[in-house]
Symmetry: C2
Subunit: 265 residues, 2 copies
């Protein structure tokens, strides 16, 4: 049984969630996708322009809409039957093909906008992105053994706040920790390893010159991305977590409880 | 200038985000709202049933849809003109009235579903929930000084995982940290203090007896909620954060970088 979906070398998929075409985000989207095209075969999804519906709803359960059961299980049944909404299917095809995924969004309330969260909720469907079971243990394959293993992601995020207030002891919370549910809970869960975040701070007050500066920074980042290491999380299978409790072994980083403990040393 | 909106004593507002009426969530919703009615005047919003649109879009900018500027600023301009979508206005009225807010949802990808995130994105609008400026410093009032000060929130969340994997060193990350963007970044930002999370673990495999047990636990929790202290975050105004950098002062919990540093001692 094949548990991973192999990406196509040289393919990238860029997903944008911002409602305004004249926004800094769209400016960076145009600059970034254009720059990436010199090295990758790039597909793009502008979620707002395509009127993507972010609400995972009973239609995502196909003919199991009225079947008793939990949502993750029922979406898996629907996937197995091929009952996948066209807009979700198209994203799954792009994602399956891509070796590089770019997720771009403004930080709203210290997380991704509902539009991007809904892309996660609907596209990383059971059966497609996760849900395989280890035949020996009976446990689902995840955190390093998901179906999308072998892919990298770059998160491009604009924030109204500055770097210090979004730093490790800043009042807003560390941006790395705020986005842990995305980088670890969603992407790494299904096997995708994230590069360091690409952050544009003070984004709400940026002027035209600042926009160009940020576009240049993004183009430069993308040009060197292939040489950048990814910052990997620990694999569930490597013995770092207690087999019974799935908590980090007591002898590893003893006493620490910050989310940084889940990075591979 | 009045910077806070006073709640009406005895009013509660319960917001639910789950697509299935036969779900554990709806079961707990019915049990919980029914129990709460003995002590509060309760309004409810079943976001899926009401087809709430979770995507903050240009319609939320009113006549400023094409005006250059950042989204938080333009939604504030629209609010000042009274250009607020009816479904958003209704939620704002309920929220303004309520002294207790209950947010209930299943944990999807280690965060709230897009439907609940969209409620945050749209309802906590600039001008309504935040955006006032301190006349002396010129800084926006937030984290302890938001417009919704004086309200409490209870988060009721169902999770497919067990308590250990969602614990402080569990592989999924500590649930307290995973939901920090909600409890701190959204609720506390606008002045709402959260009670300890009400979590139902192993929710995907729960049987009928388990549902009843959880309904009883929730009813009991709600009956005693008035006597429970809230777990407060630090106020930005109390001097715990450096005035220039807004990072936690070096002499407070030195060396620590976990999100727990933001709790008031």
């Amino acid at each position: 049984m094949t548990t991973t979906l192999r990406p196509t070398p040289g393919r990238a998929h860029w997903v944008l969630a911002h409602p305004r075409r004249d926004s800094l985000n769209h400016h960076l989207f145009r600059a970034g996708t254009s720059a990436l095209c010199s090295e990758y075969d790039v597909s793009t999804t502008d979620l707002y322009a395509e009127h993507f519906d972010p609400a995972l709803d009973t239609r995502d359960l196909g003919s199991f809409a009225d079947t008793p059961g939990a949502i993750p299980e029922l979406t898996g049944e629907a996937y197995a039957r091929g009952e996948v909404e066209p807009e979700v299917r198209r994203e799954q095809e792009h994602l399956a093909d891509a070796e590089l995924l770019v997720l771009q969004f403004p930080l709203w309330w210290y997380g991704p906008p509902a539009m991007l969260k809904g892309w996660i909720d609907r596209v990383l469907q059971t059966g497609f992105a996760q849900g395989d079971v280890d035949e020996k243990t009976g446990h689902p394959r995840r955190y390093g053994d998901g179906r999308l293993l072998g892919r990298r992601a770059l998160i491009v995020v604009t924030a109204g706040d500055d770097a210090r207030t979004l730093g490790p002891r800043g009042v807003n919370g560390d941006l790395e920790a705020l986005l842990f549910p995305l980088t670890h809970g969603a992407l790494w869960y299904v096997g995708v390893e994230a590069h360091d975040l690409h952050v544009v701070h003070d984004a709400d007050s940026i002027d035209a010159a600042g926009r160009e500066r940020e576009a240049t920074l993004l183009r430069t980042r993308l040009a060197g991305l292939g040489e950048e290491p990814v910052r990997s999380y620990r694999r569930l299978q490597d013995g770092d977590y207690d087999r019974a409790t799935r908590a980090l072994r007591e002898d590893l980083l003893p006493g620490r409880t910050d989310l940084g403990i889940h990075y591979r040393g």
